[in-house]
C-alpha cells in the first residue's frame, strides 16, 4: 500500500497552474481537434500522464465523482493521490461520475454506462478523459462542428478504434451527450459532443 509519504506532490503554484490548465482545456473545447499544451508541471503518479494529472488537479473537487478504469484503479497510488490533492470521491458506478479517467482506452466500456446528462441539465454528463498513444501521428481524422472553420484534421492514434462510431450516439442524444478529452503526455485534444467525424484518412 502506498503511504502518504510516497505520494507525488501537486502543483507547485496552485492558483496560476490551475488557471493556465483551465485555459488550455477551455481552448481545447472551443477549438475541437486542435492540440493544446498543458504547461504547468505537477507531480504525477506513474500510471497517469502529465496532462491527466493537471486536469485532475484543476477540475476535480469534492463535488465531482470520479470513475477510474481498471488500469488506473489497479495502480496503487492513483486513487490516494486524487483523494489527497483533490478530495474528489472515487466511485465504482460510472453512470454517476462527472469525470471518467481511462488509462487503458482499448477496454473502454460501452458509452451507455456513463452519464449523458438530462434534457434539463445536459451538463450533468460524464466527461471522458482518455490517455491515448499519440496525438501527432496516426491516421488522419477530419472533424466538423461548432468551433471548427471548415474541417479540422487530427492525426491521432486513438484507442478504441471505433471511438467515433461510438460517439455518433451524440447526434441522436443532443443536447445530452458525452464529451471526450484525449490526453497524450502534456498535449490534449477535446472532442465535445457537437463534433462529428466527416472522413477517416
Amino acid at each position: 500500500m502506498t503511504t502518504v509519504a510516497e505520494l507525488p506532490a501537486g502543483f507547485a503554484d496552485k492558483v496560476l497552474s490551475a488557471q493556465s490548465t483551465f485555459r488550455s482545456v477551455m481552448d481545447a473545447m472551443a477549438r475541437p481537434g486542435s492540440i493544446q499544451r498543458i504547461a504547468p508541471a505537477a507531480g504525477t503518479p506513474p500510471a497517469m500522464m502529465q496532462g491527466t494529472a493537471a486536469i485532475a488537479l484543476t477540475l476535480f473537487d469534492h463535488d465531482t465523482p470520479i470513475w477510474l478504469d481498471s488500469k488506473l484503479s489497479a495502480a496503487p497510488d492513483v486513487g490516494r493521490w486524487l483523494k489527497f490533492h483533490t478530495s474528489a470521491p472515487v466511485v465504482a458506478d460510472s453512470s454517476i461520475s462527472s469525470f471518467a479517467l481511462v488509462g487503458d482506452p482499448q477496454n473502454l466500456p460501452a458509452l451507455d454506462r456513463f452519464a449523458f446528462g438530462s434534457s434539463e441539465y445536459p451538463d450533468r454528463s460524464t466527461t471522458l478523459i482518455l490517455q491515448v498513444e499519440s496525438l501527432t501521428d496516426g491516421p488522419a481524422l477530419e472533424l466538423q462542428g461548432p468551433g471548427i472553420d471548415g474541417t479540422a484534421v487530427l492525426r491521432a492514434f486513438i484507442q478504441p478504434r471505433d471511438l467515433f462510431d461510438r460517439l455518433s450516439i451524440n447526434t441522436a442524444l443532443f443536447p445530452r451527450g458525452i464529451d471526450v478529452v484525449l490526453v497524450h503526455d502534456d498535449c490534449i485534444v477535446a472532442i465535445p459532443r457537437t463534433t462529428r467525424l466527416v472522413r477517416r484518412g
Binding site: 502518504v4 509519504a5 506532490a9 501537486g10 489527497f84
Partner: protein, 157 residues
C-alpha cells in the same frame, strides 16, 4: 507484549504531535521562524502547497444545547514532506500561509527519530514556556482587578 508496546508507542507519538501542534498553532509566525533558525533544517518539499479555506465553527448554548452554526472562520493548511519520508500537516486559524507551512514542517520533524529531540528542545519547549508565561501574566493581570461581590440579605431572611 510487542503489539501493545507499538500501540502505546504510536499513542505516545500522536500525543507528542498533538502537544506540539497545540503550542505551534498559538505561537506567532515570527517566533516560530526565530526558533527554527537555530536548527539546521532538513531537506523538504511541499506536498501540499499552503492554501486558505473556510471551516464552519459550531457552537452550543450551554453544555447541552442543540449545536448551531456560529459562523465561518478562515484556516490555512499545508503538508510538508521531509526527504527522509516523514509527512507533516499544519492547520492554523487565519490566512498566514507561512505559519501553516512552518507548523507542517515542525510536525514532520517531530515525527522524525533524529530530529524530534532537537525540535522539542529548541522550538516547542521555549514556545510553550513563552505561551504559559503569557497566559499566567494575563491571568494575574485579570486577577488583580477582581472584585468580590456580595449581596446583603434583607427582609424576611
Amino acid at each position: 507484549m510487542a503489539g501493545s508496546e507499538t500501540l502505546a508507542d504510536e499513542g505516545g507519538a500522536q500525543a507528542r504531535r498533538k502537544a506540539a501542534m497545540a503550542v505551534l498553532a498559538h505561537s506567532a509566525t515570527a517566533e516560530i521562524t526565530g526558533h527554527l533558525a537555530e536548527l539546521a533544517l532538513p531537506a523538504h518539499e511541499n506536498l501540499r502547497e499552503p492554501e486558505n479555506g473556510l471551516v464552519m465553527v459550531r457552537g452550543r448554548v450551554g453544555g447541552d444545547g442543540a449545536p448551531f452554526n456560529l459562523g465561518e472562520a478562515t484556516v490555512s493548511r499545508a503538508a510538508v514532506r521531509l526527504s527522509s519520508g516523514e509527512v507533516g500537516f499544519g492547520y492554523t486559524l487565519g490566512r498566514d500561509h507561512e505559519k501553516a507551512r512552518l507548523i507542517a514542517l515542525c510536525d514532520a520533524m517531530v515525527q522524525s527519530a533524529e530530529l524530534s529531540g532537537a525540535i522539542e528542545a529548541k522550538v516547542v519547549a521555549p514556545l510553550r514556556a513563552a505561551l504559559i508565561e503569557q497566559r499566567n501574566r494575563k491571568a494575574a493581570e485579570t486577577a488583580a482587578t477582581r472584585v468580590d461581590f456580595y449581596t446583603l440579605v434583607r427582609g424576611e431572611g
